[in-house]
C-alpha cells in the first residue's frame, strides 16, 4: 500500500471525506452548498476545500465538545479572532505520528550525525506557556522523540502575550558544549521572526558562533506583526554568518495549525548539497554571501497532496504558474482533510515554491479602522 500511488490515496481520501461529511456538521453544510457530497465526488481533487479563515468562524471538527482535549490556534494577536483546530488524545497521536517521520527524514537528510546526539535549541516558548500553538506542540514532540538529548526552549512570552526570546538563555545554550565535553551538533528550531530576533541580538553584541559540524536550523513561518521582515536569502545568509551553519543545513518548514502534516524544502537541500560540495562547510561560516541562492521547493509527505489553485478560475494551475496553495492532508482525520490556504505558491514538478500570503486581514472582530485598513484598502479586510 503506497500512498504515493494516486489510486491508493484517492481511495483513502474519499473514505475520509465521507467520514468527515458525516461527522463534521459545519463541513457538511459547506459541501452541500457546493453540491459536492460523497455520493457525487469521485476523485480527491473534487473534495471541497475549506478556507483556513473558516476555522475562525466555525467549529470544523468531528469531535464532540466532550472529546476535545486540546485546541490549536493560528498565530496572530489575541485581539483577532483565532482559528480553532480541535484535537483529542487520539487525533494528537495521529498528529505526532505524522509529523515525526517526515521531520526526521527532512531535517536529518544527508546527515552523518546521529539524531540522538543532537542538542535541541528551540526558539519558542515552552509548551506550558503556549499550549495552543501547534508549532510548539510539534517542537515538544520532536524533543520527546529525541529522548535524552540536551534541549532547551529559549522563547518566552511578553506582557502582551507575544513571543520573544530569553537572550541570556539562548547564549548559554549556544555556548554550552561543556556539559558533555562533546561536539554534539545543535538543532535550532524556530520561526523566521525568532531567528531575526536572535540574529539582531547577536549583531548588536557583535557575537558570532561556529556551531559544531552537523548543526542545523529549521525555520518556519512568516513574520506577521512580530518583527521586521527579512527576505529568506538574507535571513539564511545571516544564519550562516552568525551561527556558522551552512545553507545546506538550513531547512524551511511550511505548516499551519489547521493542518497535521508539514512540508519541507527538501528539494533545496538536494540542490544545496551540490553547492556545499563546492564551497566546503568549513569556509561557509566566513562567507555570508551565498552564491546563487536556490529557489526552495516544498514537499508534503506522501499522505498529502498539494494543488496550486488559480484564484481566477479556481482550477489547478500549470507547472511554473502561481496560485493559492490547497492541501489535502490525510492526517487531518478529525477536522477537515482539504484545506484552502491563503498562501501563494508556484507549482513545480518537484513540489511548490512559497511566495507569501494573500493580504487577508481579519473579517470582523478587529478594529477595522486600524491604520493598516485605511492605509492599504486592498489588503484590509474586516
Amino acid at each position: 500500500l503506497s500512498l504515493r500511488n494516486d489510486a491508493t490515496f484517492n481511495t483513502l481520501a474519499l473514505e475520509l471525506f465521507a467520514l468527515q461529511f458525516k461527522y463534521n456538521s459545519a463541513y457538511r453544510i459547506i459541501c452541500e452548498a457546493q453540491r459536492r457530497t460523497p455520493e457525487i465526488v469521485e476523485h480527491w481533487t473534487r473534495i471541497p476545500a475549506v478556507p483556513t479563515a473558516a476555522f475562525k468562524e466555525l467549529e470544523l471538527t468531528c469531535l464532540a465538545p466532550s472529546e476535545r482535549t486540546a485546541v490549536f490556534h493560528s498565530s496572530g494577536t489575541t485581539k483577532q479572532k483565532q482559528s480553532r483546530h480541535y484535537h483529542s488524545a487520539e487525533s494528537l497521536k495521529i498528529y505526532e505520528a505524522a509529523l515525526w517521520p517526515w521531520f526526521e527524514q527532512n531535517i536529518f537528510v544527508n546527515s552523518e550525525f546521529r539524531i540522538q546526539n543532537s542538542e535541541l535549541l528551540i526558539l519558542t516558548p515552552p509548551p506550558a506557556q503556549a499550549p495552543h500553538s501547534s508549532l510548539v506542540h510539534m517542537f515538544e514532540t520532536v524533543r520527546q522523540k529525541l529522548n535524552g538529548a540536551e534541549s532547551v526552549f529559549v522563547g518566552k512570552l511578553t506582557a502582551d502575550d507575544t513571543w520573544t526570546l530569553d537572550f541570556e538563555a539562548a547564549l548559554v545554550a549556544l555556548n554550552d558544549n561543556s556539559k558533555l565535553k562533546t561536539q554534539n551538533p545543535k538543532l535550532l528550531l524556530g520561526t523566521a521572526f525568532s531567528f531575526v530576533h536572535l540574529l539582531d541580538f547577536l549583531a548588536e553584541n557583535n557575537l558570532r558562533f561556529r556551531l559544531p559540524p552537523g548543526s542545523r536550523v529549521m525555520e518556519t513561518g512568516g513574520y506577521k506583526k512580530h518583527s521586521r521582515t527579512m527576505p529568506k536569502d538574507e535571513l539564511h545568509a545571516l544564519i550562516t554568518e552568525r551561527l556558522g551553519i551552512p545553507q545546506s543545513y538550513i531547512v524551511c518548514e511550511y505548516g499551519m495549525s489547521e493542518l497535521s502534516s508539514q512540508a519541507y524544502d527538501l528539494g533545496a537541500l538536494a540542490s544545496h548539497r551540490r553547492v556545499s560540495l563546492l564551497c566546503s562547510e568549513q569556509d561557509a561560516g566566513g562567507t555570508p554571501a551565498f552564491p546563487g541562492y536556490v529557489t526552495r521547493h516544498f514537499l508534503f509527505p506522501p499522505w498529502s497532496r498539494v494543488q496550486i489553485i488559480s484564484p481566477e478560475t479556481n482550477r489547478e494551475v500549470a507547472d511554473g504558474e502561481s496560485g493559492l496553495i490547497r492541501v489535502f492532508d490525510l492526517a487531518n482525520v478529525f477536522s477537515v482533510m482539504a484545506i484552502q490556504t491563503e498562501d501563494l505558491g508556484v507549482r513545480h514538478d518537484d513540489g511548490f515554491e512559497l511566495l507569501g500570503r494573500a493580504q487577508l486581514a481579519e473579517l470582523r472582530g478587529c478594529s477595522l479602522m486600524t491604520n493598516s485598513a485605511i492605509r492599504n484598502p486592498q489588503s484590509a479586510i474586516a
Partner: protein, 461 residues
C-alpha cells in the same frame, strides 16, 4: 510613437538618479519658471490646458493613443477603463470650468484676466472713506508632488493646479506609476514647450532619502498623497519654510433611499452604482466600498445587490477590469471563499454574486450593516439600513476618513441628506454614478482646491 527624453522619467530604467541630478533639475525648473511661466496670465494657462485636454479627447491624439495602447500593460487598467477614466477627467478641463474654478478659489473675475490680483472696496463703518484693498496672489516657486500609485487623476489634477498657480513643478511618482503623468506632461510640452520646461516627472520608490532630501530642500510647497505614516514621514523631513499639503487615504460609500427603489428606478441606480465600482477599478479614494440601501422600498437591499451584480457583469463585457497580479486576485478569491462559507451557513445573512471563472467582479450582500472595507478591484458590499442614522452609526468607524458619499434620493430629500452628511463629516456628497468623477472645482478633502497652494498679499490703500 516614441517620446523624447524631456523628463527624468523618460530615461531608461538603468539610468541612475542622483542627488546632484535632482538639484540640477530643480534649479533648471526654477530658472525656466522665471523666464517662461511667472509672468503668464492665468487665462492663457487655462487656455493651453483646455487645448491640451481637448486634444486628449480626440481619437487620433498621439498621447491618447499611446496611453490606450501601452497603458493596459503599464497600469493594469483595461483599455476601456483607461479610456473612460481619462475622458471623464479631460472633459472637465474646459475654459468655462477653469473660469468657475478661479472664481470659486479667488473670488473675483479680475484675478482671471491677468496679473493675479483683484480689488475689493469695503465700506468701513468706523471711517467715512471707503477702503480699497488690492489682493495679489502668487503660487509657490517650486511645487513638488509626492504621488501615490493607485490611479492617475490626482496626479494629473495636481499638475493642472500647479500650472495655474504658475509654479515650477517636480512630480515624484510612486514606482511604476509615472506612465500617465509622463504622457500628460509630454502633451503639455507638445502644446507649449515653455510650460513643459517648467515640469519635471520622475519616478522612484518612496523613502529614498538621498534623492528626497535635496528635493525637499529646493521646494517651497509640497503635496503628498498616501497613508498617515507616509505623510508624517514626508512632513517631518520638509524644511519648516515649506508648506505641506498632505492628503491621507479616504474611503467612500453610497446611499440609496427607499423612495427611489421602484423596480424601474432601482435598475438604473444599480447601473449608476456599477459605474462607480467600475471606474478606475474602484481603486480611488472616491470609489465606494459599500452601497447602503434603505429598507422598505419596493426593491429590497438584497434584490438591489442582485441588480448590481447584473450590471457589473454587463460592464465586464464592455469595460473589462483587466488582469490582476496574483496576490490581488488571491485576496479576492480568499475573501470570496469566506463569504461562500458564511452564505452556506447563514443564507439569510450573507449572499454573494461572483463573476464566473474570474475575479472580475464580486457583490456581497450582508445583513450586518457595519461598514466593511472592500479589497477593491470591483468588489463591493451591499448592506441594508432602515435610515440615514443607522447608516451613520454603522460607518462611525470610518468617520473622519470619508471622502465621498454617493447618494440616490428624490430631489427634495437630497439637500437635507447632504446637510446631515456634511454635519457628520463627509467632505463630498454627489449623485451615485459620479463618485469617481468629481468636477474641476472639487475641494480635495474639503480643502480649497487651488487656494491652498497660493499666498496672498493684501495691499490697503
Amino acid at each position: 510613437m516614441n517620446l523624447p527624453n524631456y523628463f527624468l522619467a523618460d530615461l531608461p530604467p538603468e539610468a541612475m538618479l542622483s542627488p546632484a541630478l535632482i538639484t540640477e533639475a530643480c534649479q533648471t525648473l526654477k530658472r525656466n519658471r522665471e523666464r517662461y511661466l511667472a509672468s503668464r496670465s492665468t487665462n492663457s494657462l487655462a487656455k493651453v490646458l483646455s487645448e491640451v485636454a481637448k486634444g486628449w479627447l480626440q481619437a487620433d491624439n498621439p498621447f491618447r493613443k499611446l496611453a490606450l495602447e501601452v497603458g493596459p500593460a503599464k497600469t493594469g487598467f483595461s483599455r476601456e477603463t483607461l479610456s473612460k477614466g481619462l475622458d471623464n477627467f479631460f472633459r472637465q478641463l474646459t475654459p468655462d470650468n477653469f473660469q468657475m474654478l478661479l472664481i470659486q478659489e479667488f473670488g473675483d473675475a479680475v484675478s482671471v484676466t491677468g496679473d493675479g490680483c483683484h480689488v475689493t472696496r469695503e465700506a468701513v463703518s468706523s471711517c467715512h472713506l471707503p477702503l480699497v484693498t488690492r489682493h495679489f496672489w502668487r503660487g509657490p516657486e517650486l511645487l513638488i508632488h509626492i504621488t501615490a500609485g493607485n490611479i492617475p487623476n490626482p496626479t494629473l489634477i495636481s499638475i493642472v493646479f500647479g500650472l495655474l498657480a504658475r509654479s515650477a513643478q517636480f512630480v515624484k511618482c510612486a514606482s511604476g506609476a509615472s506612465f500617465l503623468p509622463r504622457l500628460f506632461a509630454h502633451s503639455i510640452y507638445d502644446a507649449d514647450s515653455k510650460l513643459g520646461a517648467c515640469l519635471e516627472i520622475a519616478e522612484w520608490r518612496g523613502g529614498n532619502a538621498d534623492l528626497e532630501n535635496v528635493l525637499f530642500e529646493e521646494a517651497d510647497c509640497g503635496t503628498a498623497t498616501g497613508n498617515d505614516e507616509t505623510l508624517e514621514a514626508i512632513r517631518s523631513r520638509l524644511p519648516v519654510k515649506t508648506r505641506f499639503l498632505g492628503y491621507g487615504h479616504r474611503v467612500s460609500f453610497g446611499f440609496v433611499t427607499r423612495e427611489v427603489l421602484s423596480s424601474f428606478e432601482a435598475r438604473q441606480i444599480a447601473a449608476r452604482s456599477a459605474e462607480d465600482v467600475v471606474a478606475w477599478n474602484q481603486l480611488g479614494c472616491l470609489s465606494p466600498h459599500v452601497i447602503y440601501v434603505q429598507t422598505g422600498g419596493e426593491v429590497s437591499p438584497e434584490k438591489f445587490a442582485e441588480l448590481l451584480a447584473d450590471e457589473l457583469e454587463q460592464r465586464e463585457q464592455t469595460e473589462p477590469r483587466g488582469e490582476l497580479p496574483a496576490e490581488h486576485a488571491a485576496t479576492i478569491a480568499s475573501r470570496r471563499s469566506i463569504y461562500e462559507i458564511r452564505a452556506a451557513h447563514s443564507p439569510d445573512a450573507t449572499r454573494h454574486w461572483c463573476s464566473k471563472d474570474s475575479t472580475a467582479w464580486t457583490v456581497i450582500f450582508e445583513a450586518d450593516a457595519r461598514f466593511q472595507m472592500s479589497c477593491l478591484n470591483r468588489f463591493v458590499y451591499v448592506k441594508g439600513v432602515k435610515d440615514l442614522n443607522e447608516m451613520l452609526q454603522n460607518t462611525e468607524v470610518v468617520r473622519g476618513h470619508v471622502s465621498t458619499v454617493g447618494i440616490a434620493a428624490p430631489e427634495d430629500k437630497t439637500k437635507e441628506l447632504a446637510m446631515q452628511l456634511a454635519r457628520w463629516g463627509a467632505t463630498r456628497v454627489c449623485q451615485l454614478g459620479r463618485m469617481q468623477n468629481p468636477p474641476l472645482t472639487w475641494r480635495h478633502d474639503g480643502r480649497p482646491a487651488l487656494g491652498d497652494l497660493v499666498t496672498w498679499t493684501d495691499l490697503e490703500t
